[in-house]
């Protein structure tokens, strides 16, 4: 399977095993770091673009010069349903309140489909004073109560938890009875925070906006699904580019390391001279050195990529979520798509592997094309 030149090249590595091992370890960790920096936001981006397809087409809010205002439910539902192309209108009651471990998002629910997601047909919707909480909200109280503080301060009885698999959208969500939620957030009776509107055709999202704004007697602002996907996902993508830029000095340092290492091993130029005198061509010598560097690089690349895959798609993802996304409490469980991972491998190849291999090739070439006579004589003089 391996030809003599390759075995000879590996023998050359074994002559200086520690240097090669050091280089391999450095390369592995550099690739793992860069790869994780690139892969994690990519995976989150890909997953969000897939999952966000299920969100409502348009979110509509009432605005005034000071900012958001609650919407009167009856009038606004009437106005929205009068627009042609609107399939369903759902008022949403939600807001931010203080929980025991920091801010939480509270939502009032009346939807009948909820027990289906909980996979427990016996579950009822939260009644007054009851709450269904997301996976990330730890209950400190053994009785299962949750104190919340918004417009009022009240303690709720936790009756159920949302499944861990939905963590990406329900991690720190508290589902309450709509009346409870209104009181807690401070919404007047009969008012909602915003409207979730579904339209008949995906492409109509943008076209229908002007009709919607015209149908309301007060100023409103709409955010389409595409816009919010762009806001969430685009931010991640730019973030990862900035992260990658910070790694450029590390890559440069690595290239220098490789170049110095290659030069140093070229110090034994009498070897090269003898090889050439024995009939090795420049190509043979270069190939020997390329093999030598490849035998260090390839396993390092594979191990480094394996490490970053393990961190992002394997059990390491939770730790990364805590680190990258800023969770002080239990970070959400991420279920990430592997769709764009190939792009990241290509990026790693372009940003790291190509410069490293070139920095090995250039000094090797310089030494290999020198004159035989000079090589042997130079070695003798030293």
């Amino acid at each position: 399977m391996f030809n003599t030149l390759q075995i000879w090249a590996f023998r050359d590595i074994l002559r200086r095993p520690f240097e090669s091992l050091l280089l391999a370890v450095t390369l592995t960790f550099a690739i793992a770091t860069v790869g994780t920096l690139l892969l994690f936001p990519r995976a989150v981006y890909d997953t969000l673009t897939v999952v966000l397809k299920a969100t409502p087409s348009i979110i509509l809010r009432q605005v005034d010069p000071t900012g958001w205002r609650p919407l009167p439910i009856r009038e606004s539902v009437q106005a929205a349903t009068s627009v042609i192309g609107v399939v369903s209108v759902r008022p949403r009651i939600w807001g931010m309140v203080n929980g025991p471990d920091g801010p939480l998002t509270v939502m009032g629910v009346q939807q009948e489909g909820l027990p289906e997601i909980l996979a427990d047909p016996l579950t009822r919707l939260p009644a007054k004073g009851q709450a269904i909480v997301g996976w990330g909200i730890a209950s400190h109280d053994p009785a299962g109560t949750l104190p919340l503080e918004g417009a009022i301060r009240q303690t709720y009885q936790v009756i159920h938890r949302l499944p861990e698999q939905t963590s990406m959208f329900t991690h720190d969500l508290v589902l309450l009875n709509p009346l409870d939620a209104q009181q807690l957030i401070g919404l007047p009776q009969g008012y909602a925070s915003d409207l979730a509107i579904d339209v008949f055709h995906e492409d109509e999202q943008d076209a229908i906006l002007s009709d919607l704004t015209a149908a309301f007697p007060w100023p409103v602002r709409c955010v389409t699904r595409r816009q919010s996907a762009g806001i969430y996902a685009g931010g991640f993508n730019r973030g990862r580019a900035l992260g990658a830029i910070t790694m450029i000095p590390a890559v440069l340092a690595m290239c220098l390391l490789v170049a110095v290492n290659t030069r140093k091993s070229m110090g034994r130029q009498s070897d090269l001279g003898i090889m050439k005198a024995m009939g090795w061509t420049t190509g043979d010598i270069i190939r020997l050195h390329l093999y030598r560097d490849l035998f260090v690089c390839l396993p390092s690349v594979a191990l480094g990529s394996c490490l970053c895959f393990f961190l992002v798609y394997g059990p390491g993802a939770d730790g990364l979520a805590g680190f990258f996304l800023g969770w002080d409490t239990l970070p959400p469980r991420l279920y990430l798509e592997t769709k764009g991972a190939v792009t990241v491998l290509l990026e790693v190849a372009g940003v790291m592997v190509a410069p490293v291999m070139a920095s090995a090739l250039l000094p090797a070439l310089k030494a290999a094309t020198a004159d035989v006579h000079e090589l042997i004589e130079g070695a003798g003089r030293r």
Binding site: L38, Y45, T49, Q227, G230, A233, G234, N237, R238, R240, A241, L242, A244, I245, I248, V251, T281, T282, G283, I286, T343, V344, L346, E347, V348, A349, G350, V351, A354, P355, A358, L361, L362, L365, K366, A368, T369, A370, D371
Partner: protein
């Protein structure tokens, strides 16, 4: 400025390739000035060794350039659009770059690949013979390449620096604004679809038969090679125009969506890659077929090898053309058989 990790990878690969090219061009300059194959002094001997080094550097730079070009196309067609609001395919990305910037970028990349491919073929021929009779001319050719590589690198930076990631674009508007009336949409450069289809058929037949002919001993006749070059020069634009304006409708299943980039999207089964890949192969191999014997005519042994290479080029052109025809036309034929009419009526 538009920062995407893939763009960093492209620029990094281009810079590394440029460094290799620059390092090699110094030796190439020496070779071009002082190459004397008949003398055996120490300068000539060291030049010979270093010329071999340049060949290795050049090959590394060639593959890196191909890699960065592939990444560039992949990025424009499938990746960068996700960061530009309103862009759905490469058209949106090119629009965000400003039309001039994107055209120049693609032109420079193509020119760089063309020159490097020619150099690569010459170098391959050169290395087949012990005397390396083409070293002089490959060294001269090699000196041209770094200039184009610098331009490509500069243009890559300039084009992507022109993108403002938060300024929305409308790529469908660009595609549909090309024409104002339906009659306009059914014609290219004022000539109707029927003219272009017949031109495509005639040129395809001519190119195919010439390529088949060149696989035999007819490859030795410069006239036929010249004719082949002219026909492929005509065929390439006609094929790409008919592909975008006529055949693509059967892939998109929408009329008058004259977008060259949407073919690369996964929704259309990524057919853009084999289709444009075939066009690229025909362009490159056609150029090689025409130029190689002209540049390698000083030595009869090299000339023979060059002719062998030309035969292989003719072979590749034939297969690439068949691939192109099958992928481009098959959906149209299936449509016709299924519905009994052509899409354009």
């Amino acid at each position: 400025m538009f920062w995407h990790p893939l763009l960093l990878a492209i620029i990094s690969a281009q810079i590394v390739a440029l460094l290799l090219l620059l390092a090699g061009s110094l030796t190439s300059l020496n070779t071009a000035l002082h190459w004397q194959p008949l003398s055996a002094d120490s300068r000539q001997l060291s030049l010979e060794a270093r010329a071999e080094g340049v060949s290795i550097q050049g090959r590394a730079a060639f593959w890196l350039s191909v890699f960065s070009a592939v990444l560039l196309v992949f990025g424009i067609t499938n990746i960068f659009a996700e960061d530009i609001p309103g862009a759905m395919c490469g058209t949106g990305v090119c629009q965000a770059m400003s039309p001039r910037g994107s055209t120049q970028l693609l032109l420079y990349t193509g020119l760089l690949l063309l020159l490097m491919q020619l150099w690569h073929e010459m170098d391959k021929l050169n290395r087949m013979l012990v005397e390396m009779p083409l070293t002089d001319i490959t060294a001269r050719l090699f000196l041209v390449i770094p200039a184009v590589a610098v331009l490509t690198l500069k243009q890559t930076y300039a084009s992507f620096a022109g993108i403002r990631p938060h300024q929305p674009v409308d790529c469908c508007a660009v595609v549909y604004d090309q024409f104002t009336t339906l009659k306009h949409a059914k014609s290219i450069l004022g000539l109707g679809d029927a003219f272009w289809i017949s031109a495509f058929i005639v040129l395809s037949l001519a190119l195919f038969s010439l390529s088949v002919a060149l696989r035999t001993s007819m490859v030795d006749r410069p006239g036929i090679r010249g004719l082949h070059a002219i026909i492929s020069c005509l065929w390439l634009p006609v094929a790409s125009l008919t592909l975008v304006n006529i055949f693509s409708a059967y892939h998109y299943e929408v009329l008058h969506h004259h977008c060259p980039w949407c073919l690369f999207l996964p929704e259309h089964r990524l057919v853009g890659y084999p289709l444009y890949g075939a066009l690229y192969v025909i362009g490159m191999e056609g150029f090689t077929l025409f130029m190689l014997p002209r540049l390698a005519n000083q030595d009869i042994t090299v000339y023979k090898k060059a002719l062998d290479r030309c035969r292989r080029a003719a072979n590749r052109i034939t297969f690439a053309q068949l691939l192109f025809l099958i992928i481009a036309i098959l959906p149209a034929i299936v449509w016709r058989l299924h519905y009994g009419v052509w899409m354009s009526g």
